[in-house]
Amino acid sequence: MNKEYRYEPVIGLEVHAQLLTNTKIFCGCSAKFGAAPNTNVCPVCLGHPGVLPVLNERVVEFAMKMGFAVNCSINQKSIIARKNYFYPDSPKGYQISQFELPVCENGHVIVSLKDKEPKKIRIKRIHIEEDAGKSVHDLPYGTGIDLNRCGTPLIEIVTEPDISSAEEAAAYMMKIRQLVQYLGICDGNMEEGSLRCDANVSIRPRGSETLGTKTEIKNMNSFRNVEKAILFEINRQHEILEDGGSIIQQTLLWDADAEEARPMRSKEEAHDYRYFPDPDLLPVIISDSWLSSVRESLPELPASYIDRFTNVFGLPVYDAEVLTQEKSIATYFDEVCKFTTDYKSASNWIMGEVMRILKEQKIEICSFPITAEALAELINLCQNNTISIKIAREVFGYMIVEKKTAGQIVKEKQLVQLSDEGAIRTIIAEILTKFPNELEELKSGKEKVFGFFVGQIMKETKGKANPQVVNTVLRAMVTEL
């Protein structure tokens, strides 16, 4: 039997999201990324003795928002705890986090994989915590510590071990990124580390209820790496079990260049965090009115966009999912549809030409040169047969470079579609006389030659002839002959 069928992977993910607040979680220093080393610091985040942390209310608000978005229950009283460990980038000797009572518990998300049933992944908890500083390892005289990031706010989102493949794990990550971006609480950039992921992986004989020994993989800084690293670990565990060995519980670091996960030193993973409630911070109390005002302030989420795009605009589910992957694209589409009623064409243009340009030029839709209204104008010119779709693609290209409207370009370059039957008839008559041999073939029933004539007509009109009119008129003229 194939080993893939003998064992099933059991995966749980811990995702850290850096919150887009102005200030740190317990002090008023800027939480912005990229400042000169050790310039966004104060006695609180430097961990000086005698200082008192004061919780940033927006951190709690953002955690609540995420909780609502993934169907969690919100604990109106939660406890802030100290997680004790020593590392140079954490000056207090502990991280302020949550342990027993987090802000959110018991949620779920649904992920859809191609050709598979939608899968429900339960979320165990979401808690708030502070980030650590950064270590710089390439200095010749020691390790440099930059504490700008120390104390910047994070939420940690922990799943139940419900994920059963590397593919599902990557899909879950993308779902989380999509949600934090829609909520505007995190920029979702994995490469820059504002969204990070650790995976707990074990495998067990298919059908078994007991969990196998798990390992933890860290340092996966892209969606592709999440998938690759987990797949690597599943295969590694398969091989060990197939050879009659046993899995050692350990922490592995993913090396993206070597494409392998390597164990961390056992010394570094002697975890005994001795959590206890932080005496400096009172329990977090969320009043009924705060809770409901945050719930009411939630922006429209992907599920609702998809619902609207399919039901109101009549798009296929596939289109709706592609368009809602990023909120900025979904709102762009929404905007285009304010100026045109040809929704399916709007979807086609965005999924095709627009996304191609974004990818080629590595830009976001916000810097895309064609506004939603301008794209709608182009779509309308096609819809009312002023230009053909082929010419429209040409116009689109000019719009990007020349930054003019579709109407201006069509006028300047005289691209208006030729739909006048009489005019087309004259052109066809000329062409038919130019190619007597081909005409004979066509008359004798060689359908292939029909395409040849259409091509010649399009060439003669520089692509401007309305293809439908050309087809009808040519067909009629041939029959008349």
Partner: protein
């Protein structure tokens, strides 16, 4: 409740403390005396009492998400044993 010498050594290690053998014996002894003293509390039946995380109950004080000035880098680095005027410098953390 009491701790063994090995457990005391483990706790010391977690706290980054280095003790000589004599110190370890003496601290294990001290620790056990403290535990014994505190264990008198075990006599109280707390089965129906909710765990207390904080001795005071008051409305929590939260901060608006508004910037306050940070300190200068010079000030931040002032008390550090070693710096390069940009980073805090610590002994090389061994890379994986």
């Amino acid at each position: 409740m009491s701790v063994t010498k090995d457990e005391a050594a483990y706790i010391a290690k977690l706290a980054n403390l280095n003790f000589s053998e004599d110190e370890l014996v003496s601290y294990t002894h001290d620790l056990n005396e403290m535990l014994e003293y505190v264990s008198q509390l075990q006599a109280v039946d707390t089965s129906s009492v909710e765990p207390l995380t904080h001795p005071i109950s008051s409305e929590p004080w939260m901060r608006r998400d508004e910037l306050r000035p940070s300190v200068s880098r010079e000030t931040a680095l002032k008390n550090a044993p070693q710096t390069d005027n940009e980073y805090f410098i610590v002994p090389k953390v061994i890379k994986q």
